[in-house]
């Protein structure tokens, strides 16, 4: 029995929440230190950047999972034939939005990693408050980051909903409706945290 597709798809769903979703939450929480001033943000950022075995943490908790999720996700996104026009039900709209935000996030995250992590790695920059303040000084970049943060929080919250379905945790219509409310709350809370942090840099 060839169930490779089944396992790849389940892995895609799992990685989206663990570790990528958890990393996103942690990332937004650390960013939020920016609202407490330059010192607080730099201390938090410094702590994260100097975790023991940080390169292995990055590779196995961030880079590999996110690359798998991104590339397999692109395959999923481009094998669907979206039909929100005639079938404009809420879940179908969210289905379409999940695919659009996913494709956008591949671009956004690639740019974000290049602009921050990669520049630090080649020694061209230092990851601190000033770096982000410089980037977000440009109103176009600020807008790009706002859209990026909202796309990420939406994609995570809605992905969490379908994770619960995909693994058979929410089964009945009522369970799925309640998890819609819950994931809406997740989206709102994470968006507020993320946007507050962005505003703190300008």
């Amino acid at each position: 029995m060839d169930n490779r597709e089944f396992l790849l798809r389940r892995l895609h769903s799992l990685l989206g929440v663990i570790p990528i979703g958890l990393f996103l939450v942690q990332h937004l929480f650390i960013n939020h230190f920016a609202t407490q001033g330059v010192e607080a943000f730099n201390a938090a950022s410094h702590f994260m950047a100097n975790l023991p075995f940080v390169i292995f943490l990055e590779i196995f908790v961030i880079y590999l999972p996110i690359m798998y999720h991104a590339f397999y996700g692109l395959y999923i996104a481009f094998t669907s034939k979206n039909n929100p026009g005639h079938y404009s039900y809420m879940r179908n709209m969210l289905f379409v939005a999940q695919r659009y935000t996913g494709v956008f996030l591949v671009v956004f995250i690639a740019w974000h990693v290049f602009e921050t992590r990669f520049q630090v790695a080649i020694g061209a920059a230092e990851a601190d408050f000033n770096m982000m303040a410089n980037i977000l000084d440009n109103p176009w970049m600020f807008a790009f980051y706002v859209v990026g943060v909202l796309a990420a929080t939406f994609h995570f919250a809605n992905g969490l909903w379908s994770f619960l379905v995909t693994w058979g945790i929410t089964q009945s219509e009522k369970a799925q409706r309640y998890s819609t409310y819950f994931t809406l709350l997740v989206f709102l809370v994470l968006s507020i945290i993320g946007i507050r942090a962005l505003l703190a840099f300008v």
Binding site: F6, T79, H86, Y87, V165, W167, G168, I169, T170
Partner: protein, 255 residues
């Protein structure tokens, strides 16, 4: 009454064969009370003259029961897939646009070939095997309340509307669609059918199976029989999660 005679305008996507070019043809019919799409198509067949007054070929379509239990007359009516027998002209915006369900191979005009759905039912073993070389005796009893619940799932008429509405059933994917998946849940719920439940679960864990569902939930919104397709899918997701671990680690509970 002095009113101008009321008419109904149909705009139909036509083609002469699977490979040939498609074209739209308009027809204007005189209105009759309680008309449905099929009675209008019958009217066109009786007098195949299009809106320009030219004689044309009669429009082909599929039909059988005329009471929404056979699933044969499904087509896209004003953008949404549904049965034409229960599509009342009074409830439709005009011109009424009829198109074939292009998720399936189109045979001619509005006739589609739904063979792939029946092939999927074979693939997932959507039956209860009871044949033996000797009398197997009575099967286990099914609780009445469970039977009533299972009856809802058994209303599926393989009409193809859920496949047409599903964004993940298309020529780029081999997803079997919600209908066959829900039948796995029905057959696995049957006390005798459940004796082969692992075979069906393994079948839907294969290519084009359960994993191809993207949870757009168009199926449950579109199903003319109100079958809880997404609940079936989520329930199967739970069962295949367990089956996945059983397959991997081995289990004393094969069934």
């Amino acid at each position: 009454m002095g009113e101008a005679a009321k008419t109904v305008i149909f705009e139909i996507e036509r083609r002469d064969s699977t490979e040939s070019e498609t074209y739209f043809e308009k027809f204007e019919l005189s209105y009759r009370a309680n008309m449905n799409v099929i009675s209008a198509l019958m009217e066109i067949r009786r007098n195949p003259v299009n809106m320009e007054g030219k004689k044309t070929t009669p429009v082909n379509w599929d039909m059988n029961c005329l009471e929404e239990v056979c699933g044969a007359c499904s087509m896209i009516i004003n953008g949404k897939a549904r049965q034409s027998c229960t599509a009342l002209v009074d409830q439709l915006e005009q011109p009424i646009r009829l198109q074939p369900m292009k998720t399936f191979p189109v045979v001619r005009d509005l006739v589609v070939d739904r063979s792939r759905m029946f092939d999927s039912l074979k693939k997932v073993k959507a039956w209860v095997p009871i044949d033996g070389t000797h009398d197997l005796g009575e099967g286990p009893r099914m609780p009445e309340r469970k039977r009533q619940w299972a009856y809802e799932l058994s209303k599926c008429m393989t009409c193809g509307v859920c496949l047409e509405a599903c964004p993940n059933v298309n020529d780029k994917s081999d997803f079997i669609g919600p209908a066959a998946l829900s039948q796995v849940r029905l057959m696995n719920a049957h006390p005798t059918g459940s004796m082969n439940r692992d075979e069906r679960l393994n079948a839907i864990m294969g290519e084009g199976g359960l994993a191809s569902c993207g949870n757009s939930q168009n199926c449950v919104e579109s199903c003319p029989k109100g079958i809880p397709l997404t609940t079936s899918i989520a329930a199967l997701n739970r069962e295949t999660t367990v089956q996945m671990f059983r397959n991997f680690f081995g289990s004393d509970h094969a069934v």
